[in-house]
Amino acid sequence: MNGGRDDALLRVEHLQVYFPVRRGLMRRVTGHVHAVEDVSFSVRPREVFGLVGESGCGKTTAGAAVLRLIEPTGGRIFFKGQELSALSEEAMRGKRRDMQLIFQNPYSSLNPRMNVWKLLSEPLRVHFRLSDAELRARVLEMLARIGMTEDQLERYPHQFSGGQKQRISIARALITRPSFVVADEPVSALDVSIQAQILNLMMELQQEMELSMVFISHDLNVVRHISASVGVMYLGSIMELGDTEAVYRHPVHPYTQALLSAVPAHDPTRKSSHIVLEGDVPNPASPPSGCPFRTRCPRCTALCAEQKPALTETEPGHFAACHHIA
């Protein structure tokens, strides 16, 4: 799969994250939630990789596991050729200045009791030994890049709008000059007109700072716009993977096809050409046998219940996990 690319900055192989389910007085483990079942992908230097899927499909967990903020149950993660999954906690902490995370909700991810100066200088104090003058210079430089001014340094998060707060949390993630970030739904909590402002800022910074990024979102249009390649997740597994335009123009997996057709078109003359899926996403604590999508798939056959389809290449660089793709 595209995990085989040699030039990758980040390579994830068969990532797996299970959470134990405990029941009863003794809190015995009675089962596992299969949050991430089998996820493999790679991100090239200066590339944005989109991870898209509906809520509960494991995309956020996968993103956090890549940074080892959640310990993976299985699989391997390589960053700049080094195996992250083998590093000690201590060594991993050192890596974090180079690998950062941008959170979804700027309303809850910024400490309300810290002003902008404290919020932005904290990551530098943790990861670097800088003089006061250097510290101030770095903070002001970052502040200018996100379009804010020095007189806003003393203000607290509640004095800013949602869009400005998200700018601050982006600055906080990027101030250590990482080469890789995971952005987890960075615009989902924002209004449409503000979303575009933040996406533009992220694309500018990504170019300027030569960032590689995993961009996680449930919004198919946003992912299409920002990512060069994309992985579509369902119930913990990647269903389809490839260059963004190839996947969006010619989706081959039945799930991707239904998902893309469900997005409302901004054109009242083109009403309802939807493939409407029946039913709900199964419970990840007891996933179906075989293909995870088979319970809602219009093309499901007996084979799908028996065997889980592997990601196979349908065209160069385009992969899908389905038995019914010739």
Binding site: E54, N200, R224, H274, L277
Partner: protein, 330 residues
């Protein structure tokens, strides 16, 4: 009358300290019978409080300071703002129903689905027997395509998924066959594949039951899919209103144009997205002239001085902008 609901000159205010702050400013809307009407705008533009005002659900210190809301009920025309608490209760659910944004929080977690559905029925029909109520509930659940309705009736909300809960909310809202359904962001908390199911369901229920729907959303895509008419809200006012096809084909107001460009430039040829600079001004901080002036790329000196009136840019197509009319708001 041909109109089911007629809102005129509606003004809603709140208190900030001792100061009275306007949140909604002289809004006129009329909803025809068997029509699906969309209200679109960003957060803080006054969409939800308009719907809440119709059912008398404004939380203190919000209140209607001016205007009228006339409703053509089964028992004749009523002025909703003048109804007593008791008269209003007879309207809620029976004549006008509402579904809210988050199905996960709008059902009571400690009662079964059956008890919550039965409550809605017995409120308006106290003489129904338990068996009759159960029968009606089952019928409604089947109408909203709930699999295994008997089992669902005895479930608690936490045992059901978001999509199922929103179906149940719709079932409860339609229990007494209201003639008007106010849907406040009914699919915002749901995934796209579930959203497609719910929108299709609402469309078919509207056809079956002759219910008018007011769909409040921030998503122009949802409007394009489900509505016949649409009003665009900005900073407590209507800035544009037209039939849906007309609005999308000949968008007149710069704010609506900006919203559309911001969403349709996604995935488009240009890498940089079109943006509307700035933010929606919060209530109380509105400009004296056109409220969009600060963010508009076609703003003139006059826009900052005077507020344009909502006038016809084309037959049936209202727009509040000096580009289309010289008229000033009185």
């Amino acid at each position: 009358m041909d109109e089911l609901l007629k809102i005129s000159g509606l003004r809603i205010t709140t208190l900030r300290g001792k100061e009275t702050v306007r949140l909604l400013d002289r809004v006129d809307l009329s909803i025809r019978k068997k029509c699906s009407f969309g209200i679109v705008g960003e957060s803080g533009c006054g969409k939800s409080i308009t719907a809440n005002a119709v059912l008398g659900l404004l939380p203190y210190p919000l209140r209607v300071s001016e205007g009228s809301i006339r409703y053509d009920s089964r028992a004749g025309e009523k002025e909703l703002l003048k109804l007593s608490k008791k008269e209003m209760q007879a309207v809620r659910g029976e004549e006008i129903s509402m579904i809210f944004q988050e199905p996960m929080t709008s059902l009571d977690p400690i009662f079964t689905v059956e008890m919550q559905m039965a409550e809605a029925l017995s409120f308006h029909h106290p003489d129904l027997s338990r068996a009759e109520k159960r029968e009606r509930s089952l019928e409604m659940l089947r109408q909203v395509n709930i699999p295994r309705p008997e089992q669902t009736l005895s479930s608690y909300p936490h045992q059901l998924s978001g999509g199922q809960l929103q179906r149940i909310m719709i079932a409860i809202a339609l229990m007494n066959r209201p003639r008007l359904l106010l849907a406040d962001e009914p699919t915002t908390a749901l995934d796209v594949t579930i959203q497609a199911q719910i929108l299709r369901l609402m469309n078919s229920l509207k056809e079956q039951n002759d219910t008018s729907i007011v769909m409040i959303t921030h998503d122009l895509g949802v409007i394009a899919e489900t509505c016949e008419e649409v009003a665009v809200f900005y900073a407590g006012q209507i800035v544009e209103q037209a039939e849906v096809t007309e609005l999308f084909a000949r968008t007149a107001h710069p704010y609506t144009q900006g919203l559309l460009r911001a969403v349709t430039s996604l995935g488009g040829a240009s890498r940089m997205l079109y943006t509307i600079p700035g933010i929606v001004p919060p209530g109380g901080q509105w400009l004296q002239g056109c409220r969009f002036a600060d963010r508009c790329d076609r703003c003139t000196e006059r826009c900052r001085r005077e507020m344009p009136a909502l006038t016809e840019a084309a037959p049936g197509h209202l727009c509040r902008c000096f580009l289309h009319s010289e008229e000033v708001e009185a």
